[in-house]
Symmetry: C2
Amino acid sequence: MSNPPAYELFAFWRTSATYRVRVALALKGLTAHEHIVNLDAGEQRSPEFLRINPLAAIPALVEPGHPPLTQSLAILEFLDEQHPSPPLLPADAHGRARVRSIALMLAADTHPLITPRVRKYLTTTGGFDDAGWRAWQQQWFGTGLQAVEQRLAGDPATGLFCHGDQPGLADISLASIAAVMQVFKISVEGTPTVDAIVARCNQIDAFAHAAPALQVGAPG
Amino acid sequence: MSNPPAYELFAFWRTSATYRVRVALALKGLTAHEHIVNLDAGEQRSPEFLRINPLAAIPALVEPGHPPLTQSLAILEFLDEQHPSPPLLPADAHGRARVRSIALMLAADTHPLITPRVRKYLTTTGGFDDAGWRAWQQQWFGTGLQAVEQRLAGDPATGLFCHGDQPGLADISLASIAAVMQVFKISVEGTPTVDAIVARCNQIDAFAHAAPALQVGAPG
């Protein structure tokens, strides 16, 4: 692509929520200039970054001349409205509700439980040791993925991807959780439908190129 | 209203996510027949309810002839698409992104941390006593509300409500958090913009009538 990036993206190599935005941009043929916010160094709590997102979380997407956009699912909806092709949501309202629900099962009811700020609290105030934190991760990744498996398996609305045969918002959310599970070396058993969809996602360049290990700042 | 309810709602008196759906239905002049899922009795984990939502969480909205819809924000988007007046989202894409982001700061990055399943884990496996659980609630309600305060205060897009002068998706999410904080007797200091918006919400019938204490099953 020879056009200059349309957006600036505040990002970190490892995070699930940044991954979602990277995939959505790529699926739509868009690029963003990335600014790294090193979560391991606490840069998300710097005064400069808190002006961009007072919740001290990434990603944030900046379109020149507009305030920063935060929260990955809000950013994906925005990108889908501004750049409708290919669509991230189905054409019918019931389908959109199904896709948004699956995305929220993962991005809202799974991922926020394993973020750095939760880890920090549990491993200090909460008294969790490394094994306790790992069991916590396993618990919520497992709960989320197994619930999504139950929702997808045997549902005629499920196709090659979460909803029909094209990847969209739900698949991006699902693949984003799988991507960070790989970083943390966590696996969940008994989710064959989920596993097959994630494998299909990873055959698509937009997903494959968003893999955490390939990002700037990833360990060598 | 003399029309029969258009929807069935699986609900519990106390929960923040059910509150959001109750307010949205009422703002749009819609009614739902409620089925109580007693979270304190573990009814969300019954085989019958797991067929409705494998994540064992409420609310679920059922429109006759369609599969159950889950995840409060997906339900609110659905209701807004099917019943556009009054709108829950602004007319412009940047405004919609801002409103969705504020809603997600609360419904995704705050509320999932204080749900019954998290409480169950922390107070058993996690070893938290009552004071530890209360400190955890305080931590995440405080983090979420203070971040929303920073986002709203001084932003020209903020009006009498989170975005302009009409209540919408962000206000419903904000009031839903305030409503359960009241149930749990948690308060957060230093959030005057948030407090003023919540007070305005509570002057509107659709919000006032959704108060947890007024629902079937609430303690007398």
